[in-house]
Symmetry: C2
Subunit: 305 residues, 2 copies
């Protein structure tokens, strides 16, 4: 699956992913109104609004962006209707040829991790039939529980040609509380990175592995070190834009082949129309503002490669 992602990145010359994290506050008034008129101020109404909002953005960016990263929490908060909107978003993006990274940060052990892997990447058996539950291409995974939590995902990745991104160093201010603790001269995030490289070697797909990792754009010095520890690992990079990471910070996340990293922007793209820079589009043309934000981001990132 990482090969397919790389192909799309190369074809579109855009190592970027659009984070579909639709807070209701981002959804333009006319979409909210239509959804609430139809469903009332209900969970169904909220779900209809975010799905419509997403579709507008996807229609505007699918030819210039290789991938999207819906953040499941933003759908889960709207209960069952929200999960339906998540599933419909995944399906819609796949129909449009986009690679879908489910930002789920799941992680458990044994048969439970296997169930999450099956839910998001694999197929679940019901009697003699097999079904895909949510059907993303990649999913993000939390490493705190160790190999027991990761192996079931690797098994499904091998079976189904799917991939995962394992949290190594997250973009948030307090990520260092545990991740930066040093033992035997190495911070925890490096130990996790070593494991990611080891897990990844079992699951190669061309030059890179289907087992990727997450390193925040906000910690470029660490990104530089981690890039070298995991030369064949694709890095999913959150924290660009709204969280403070700049393109200059990102150069070190890429390999000399110009590959090896894919940078996420969520708010910066999907709520672009709320920024002064894109205010000329207005809320009715929010999707065009998102398209322009993708083009600008692409130029910004390519300028440092």
């Amino acid at each position: 699956m990482i090969e397919k992602l790389i192909q799309e990145i190369t074809k579109k010359n855009a190592p970027i992913v659009v984070g579909l994290d639709p807070m209701l506050g981002y959804v333009p008034e006319h979409i909210l109104k239509e959804a609430f008129d139809k469903h009332g101020e209900t969970l169904e109404g909220a779900a209809a609004a975010i799905l419509e909002f997403n579709k507008g953005i996807v229609d505007a960016i699918y030819d210039i962006a290789p991938a999207v990263k819906p953040q499941i929490a933003m759908y889960e908060q709207f209960g069952i209707p929200g999960m339906v909107a998540f599933k419909e978003t995944v399906d819609y993006c796949k129909e449009k040829g986009l690679i879908v990274i489910g930002d789920a940060k799941r992680g458990d052990i044994g048969s439970t991790s296997a169930a999450y892997a099956v839910a998001h990447l694999g197929k679940v058996q019901v009697g003699s039939k097999l079904y895909s539950a949510f059907g993303e291409d990649f999913v993000t995974v939390n490493p705190y529980l160790g190999s027991d939590g990761i192996s079931p995902f690797i098994d499904v990745c091998k079976e189904q040609d799917k991939g995962i991104f394992v949290l190594v160093k997250t973009s948030n201010p307090s990520s260092g509380e545990f991740q930066d603790k040093v033992f035997e001269g190495k911070p925890l995030y490096e130990l996790v990175a070593q494991k990611v490289a080891e897990w990844g070697s079992e699951c190669m797909d061309g030059t890179y592995s289907n087992i990727g990792c997450v390193i925040g754009a906000t910690y470029p010095e660490m990104g530089k070190v981690l890039r070298k520890i995991m030369p064949n690992t694709y890095i999913l990079v959150p924290g660009y834009g709204a969280q403070g990471g700049t393109a200059k910070d990102l150069a070190a996340y890429f390999n000399e082949d110009g590959l090896g990293a894919i940078v996420n922007s969520s708010r910066g793209i999907i709520a672009a129309y709320k920024q002064e820079k894109y205010s000329k589009y207005g809320s009715k043309n929010y999707a065009e503002a998102s398209r322009q934000a993708v083009l600008d981001m692409k130029e910004d990132i390519n300028s440092v490669l």
Copy 2:
């Protein structure tokens, strides 16, 4: 909420929680057949089967067990119908007066963690209305991302009188890969425990805090040390029974007041009828086997307190 859990534990004299982790392989043939006859071998059929299975167990144990812990992964793997079964399981358990611990192991940052907290413990705002999405009483949370990931849960716990259990030392064999790494003389799980105690002090509910933790029954020596680091923290203990933890191992997880821990058993209770010990019940009376397994577990654990 921890006060309410303690009241139920005390009333029923049972510091135990029944893990509702319904693999299809646990569901008796007659329930599967009825569900598949009605819905076919579909996700809906699987969801109907696990819901029916759960209800049978809940009917058989709600008067002797204080709490249940549905493992969301086992529902999520069946997609939307599975999530509906999860929600209906939560609702059914609450109707029966059981405390519900959603075993979700969620964890993210900022507004995303807030969305998870809202999804499982809080209320989400849609226009002028508020809705509860899944409505558990407690949820398990992963600490890898640090305080930024936990604070939004704490806010919701305070607002709604709910609780969380933060992973400290998990029960699985490879949990030590990261959790046992030592810095400045202290393993990571102790550092996490110190943070849990600190977070918990903000969120007291009587003698104990609404911020609890998870420590596997399979690491009793560590449990003993951790008990002292977090005197006011309730410990949710997985790993009893099927994973190898014994009652003798568990004494150290409790405080001198006989409180401070609640021990989970999943397979050992919900699939009790498959064990030789309970085979006399047969698959038709699987729920009675589960009831007897709860009574036996209660006796076993109380014998060491």
